[in-house]
Amino acid sequence: MEETKDIVIELAGAAIGGVSEGAPLVEGVDWRVARSDFWVVGGLHGAGKSALLAVAAGWQRPMRGVSRVFGRDPDDLSEEERIAQRRRVGVVFENGARPFHQLTVLQNVALPLCYHRDWTVEQAAVAAHELLRRTGLEGFATRPAGDLARAWQQRLGLARALALEPEVLLLDNPLTGLDPRQQEWWLAFLKELSLRHTLVVTSDHLEPWQGVGRQFARLTEGRWELVGTEITAGLRPGPVRGE
């Protein structure tokens, strides 16, 4: 199928499951992410936010329904196409963003550049230093990533995901466990980033994203619910399925 112009991620009638087999966590997901969108998806712990992002990134098949990333069903991609697609979709994991603990902060960011672009360490270091400067990590460049506090590891995950200049950035619960100052930094950074990137963020609560995100949805009791472009007062994520 041809890449649908301006639609980067599309789910239709999708039922999304967790890691283990069983009933889907969310059903009836009809979702289209267009270029330059900034989606914020709310849902409490266990509501299926991470699984939704895994499907949106093309790593996981929906249990039912259709998923397309850049107009292509991830199952139809060859190995080379799959790798090329992953370079276009950046992902920041939750809870510390899974840095490579054995590498330094600089090496974490430089690795994808050296690997995919066959750059020398010196070439990659220039770009990596710039990303570390933007994310406030330049003072930690030579430190092992495993030594950083969780909040800085989360920023490192962001810098690493941005290294390959992805067209879409998916962030899983980036505000979890951060103090108010760190949260403020993230909200400001992502708002500025959304001027040039398509962003999808999941969050336990939608309120902090008011005025930052542009489109809102939530996962409530196993259902996908579009909220719109503004969060109405008092609208918090509802209970997860089974509660």
Binding site: R87, F93, F100, H101, P112, D118
Partner: protein, 281 residues
């Protein structure tokens, strides 16, 4: 009486069920391990030149970690092996008047048997266990998924350097261990007052060695390195692990590697016998 028979039947059934489960589990593990070995081999061949600026320094680093850093302990084991063999055989040969056969004993025991096996076991203990812990921890901390998210093949990035590093390290360490064992063997024979000139001693060894020995030594050590690397990488990487599962995975990997090394060794004994390499007269 009836109760006793029923109880025996029940025990037999339980034992039979347990045996079936073990056999099925073993078959399944073997199948997964074989598939993993083929994937690792395929990726090694097809992606050898991919991202060479990242991968080739990693391969060199692993050769250094698994090979160069093990030189001192390999030298110690090589010297011990030479001393033990000569220490046992010199008194025997002195009584039997067979000092011309020391070279034959050294080639049979050190080159064909204990040298490769000792080097492989050293690498397993010093490096194999480290690999299981490294990869198991990376898996448990989600680093493998992070690599995949960046479009980096974990088998290419994590397994290939370790596989090549270990194959080359076992080969190189075996050669080193054999040379040290030969030297230590002569030294001990000399210290025991055996009237044997260096030229005679090394001449005996050279006379017994055949060209097949060099080919089989290379094949055997590379097979040991490949088997150990595949098993430890499989145990660390191929299954979802939690941090608390890593020690158990390490123990399992060591057990499987030991069994595999002994089986590979037995296979090569059959090949030596088939090629008639144990016939000296």
């Amino acid at each position: 009486m009836e109760n006793t028979v029923a109880s025996e039947a029940s025990r037999l059934r339980r034992f039979s069920n347990w045996g079936s489960r073990q056999a099925l589990g073993f078959g399944e593990s073997l199948h997964s391990l074989g598939a993993f070995a083929l994937i690792a081999l395929g990726v090694t061949v097809t992606k050898f030149r991919v991202s060479s600026r990242v991968m080739h320094p990693l391969i060199v680093r692993e050769i250094h970690r698994f090979g160069v850093q093990l030189l001192p302990i390999t030298a110690f084991f090589g010297a011990a092996l030479g001393l033990l063999i000569v220490g046992q055989t010199v008194p025997l040969f002195s009584q039997l008047g067979g000092r011309d056969h020391i070279g034959m004993v050294m080639v049979t025991v050190v080159v064909r048997e204990l040298g490769p096996l000792a080097a492989a076991l050293l690498v397993l203990v010093r490096a194999g266990t480290v690999i299981v812990v490294e990869l198991g921890t990376a898996r448990a901390l989600g680093e493998v998924e992070a690599l995949e998210a960046l479009g980096i093949d974990p088998v290419h990035y994590l397994v290939v350097p370790r596989l090549l590093g270990m194959m080359i390290a076992v080969l190189a360490l075996t050669v080193y261990l054999i040379l040290v064992a030969f030297g230590a063997g002569y030294l001990f024979a000399f210290l025991q007052g055996m009237p044997l000139q260096p030229a005679d001693y090394f001449g005996q060894i050279a006379g017994v060695l055949r060209w097949e020995d060099f080919v089989l030594l290379a094949l055997k050590t590379i097979t040991f390195g490949f088997a150990i690397a595949v098993i430890v990488c499989f145990e660390g990487l191929a299954q979802p692990l939690r941090l608390e599962d890593v020690p158990q995975a390490t123990t399992r990997a060591v057990g499987r590697c030991l069994t595999t090394c002994v089986l590979v060794d037995a296979l090569f004994i059959v090949i030596y016998l088939y090629l008639d390499l144990y016939r000296f007269w």
